[in-house]
């Protein structure tokens, strides 16, 4: 990396600076920087799924049909009553086993299947997951967990949409379904944004758990790069530097939080144009 710089530029730095620049731009470090993509994909993918689950959850919660309402309330309560780590580990494992169960029924010999004492019943039914598979599952499980939080936010926001707006729409002859989608859902975003921004912050922080799903994310790379580095040919390259790498991650997440705050503040200002919300007038 450093070799690509023109001589006059690299000549500006002292030998010490040059060697540390070379160190933090070596291949492994570049792989570390590149692994930020997993964090960002999981955060954005998870947020998308979370909003979808939030919409469905909120719709279920205010459904007039009892079983639907119960499902919605059960979903939001159970997820909030149990640590997110448990769900983030549980969903991928459960999904993997479900797939392997159906795979086993079709590929394993019936007698092997009946006598099986271990999982999966036969070698052929083993599903080896790639990083992409795990990443998709991470998005979905983050989405399910934080969808419950989003469902609460969206449910509250839908209640905050002025009744008059909905009544006016109904009076104009819109069907209940149209009133829901074209007025309630359209208008609730402004009321939901502050809550959703909080959910986003939680989700962003939860993306640090990706390494628990065998994804070589920034946390795992930090551990690898930071551990004491010893080569028999050169001796000790550096002692245990993990704290430095974790400190960088600590700062990284704080900066991400700051940027998110700025982004949501701008979004809020844009979304509430022309609306008279409490405190704005």
């Amino acid at each position: 990396m450093l070799e690509t710089l023109p001589d006059w530029l690299s000549g500006l730095f002292s030998e010490d600076v040059r060697s540390s620049l070379a160190y933090i731009t070596n291949g492994k470090h570049l792989a570390w920087y590149a692994s930020i993509r997993f964090t960002l994909i999981a955060a954005i993918g998870g947020a998308t799924v979370a909003v979808l689950f939030g919409l469905v959850g909120a719709a279920l919660k205010q459904s007039r049909i009892m079983p639907f309402k119960l499902i919605g309330d059960f979903y939001t309560t159970i997820v909030r009553g149990v640590p997110d780590v448990l769900f983030i580990l549980f969903f991928p494992l459960a999904f993997e086993q479900a797939v392997e169960y159906f795979l086993a029924r079709s590929v394993c010999e019936p007698e092997v299947l009946a006598a099986a004492t271990q999982w999966p019943p036969c070698e052929a039914a083993q599903w080896f997951l790639t990083t992409t598979d795990y990443l998709i599952m991470a998005c979905v499980s983050l989405g399910i967990v934080y969808g419950a939080f989003a469902a609460n936010v969206i449910h509250g926001a839908m209640q905050a949409v002025p009744k008059g707006q909905l009544e006016a729409a109904a009076a104009y002859g819109f069907t209940p379904r149209q009133v829901f989608w074209r007025f309630k859902v359209r208008q609730m975003w402004v009321y939901a944004l502050p809550g959703l921004s909080n959910v986003w912050m939680l989700l962003l922080k939860a993306t640090s758990l990706l390494s628990l799903l065998q994804i070589a994310d920034i946390v795992q790379w930090a551990a690898r790069l930071g551990s004491a580095n010893y080569y028999s040919r050169v001796g000790l390259v550096h002692p245990d530097w993990r704290w430095k790498y974790y400190l960088v991650l600590f700062v990284f997440f704080i900066v991400m939080t700051m940027l998110s705050e700025r982004f949501f503040a701008a979004l809020q200002a844009r979304a509430s144009r022309g609306m008279s919300l409490a405190g704005s007038d």
Binding site: R80, V82, L89, Q97, V153, K205, L209, V219, R242
Partner: protein, 250 residues
């Protein structure tokens, strides 16, 4: 009866009882220290002295803005880096590096930041009239705080702080994902994971672990509800009812 006792579900409940104590220990060891620290930080953030206010604000922002998972790794590796030079010579490495000490320590640092934000919010909503009335009565700053600001702040913050305590209890799962497991000292997730690796029955073991978390969360909630009732006993009928909503506060 015999069949029920022998069932895998009941067996799991029995096996996971001891690990549940570790989660409870981490929460119970952190709350008594985290609570006063949170109050101090909240007062610091509201302080008139710029330096104290800035420092508290920065601390709260940093610990709320970064994942607890990273905080655990960071403090553990920092302690390891200090081990040879300081901890070992002083003979305290066995204690400081032990997860039963380091776990609550990091949890305290984390929860005091979240708690401080809650108490700061409450401090800002303490009725101004009551504070002014107390000063007008000739009460000093300390007695105004003790008899007006403090009880009001605690009362207003309690529902949100209850949620924070439940969240802290959930966060105890991260301790053994980041710190070394000593002997058989395993918490719920740890033990559930171990049971899972034996028979790959993810639905049973994780559900029982989830059940423990749910029941203990409700227990914490119920106990905090009793305190809430006591804090609001002078406000018959007016008090906001406490709700199980560890929602989007954290």
């Amino acid at each position: 009866m015999e069949a029920i006792l022998q069932s895998a579900f009941v067996q799991d409940i029995a096996t996971l009882a001891r690990p549940a104590l570790f989660n409870l220990y981490f929460a119970l060891a952190s709350i008594p220290v985290g609570f006063p620290l949170a109050v101090l930080l909240a007062l610091g953030k509201a302080s008139r002295f710029k330096i104290i206010s800035r420092l508290s604000r920065g601390y709260i922002y940093a610990f709320r803005g970064s994942p607890l998972f990273i905080q655990f790794f960071m403090f553990y590796s920092m302690m390891l880096a200090l081990n040879q030079a300081y901890l070992k010579p002083w003979g305290i490495d066995g204690v400081v590096l032990h997860p039963l000490f380091l776990g609550p320590m990091v949890l305290v640092l984390n929860t005091s930041a979240y708690g401080a934000e809650i108490f700061y919010g409450a401090l800002k909503t303490v009725p101004k009239g009551e504070v002014e009335a107390a000063s007008a009565m000739g009460m000093g700053r300390w007695s105004v705080f003790r008899s007006v600001t403090w009880p009001n702040m605690l009362r207003l913050a309690w529902p949100a702080y209850t949620n924070e305590m439940v969240f802290l209890f959930h966060a105890t799962t991260l301790v053994y994902f980041t710190l070394p497991v000593v002997n058989e000292q395993k918490d719920l997730m740890n033990k559930a994971g171990e049971l899972f690796e034996r028979d790959y029955n993810v639905f049973l073991h994780f559900s029982v672990a989830a059940l423990y978390f749910l029941v203990l969360s409700i227990l914490i909630f119920w106990l905090a509800g009793l305190v809430h009732k006591r804090l609001n006993q002078h406000l018959t009928g007016r008090a906001e009812k406490i709700r199980f909503k560890p929602g989007y506060i954290r």
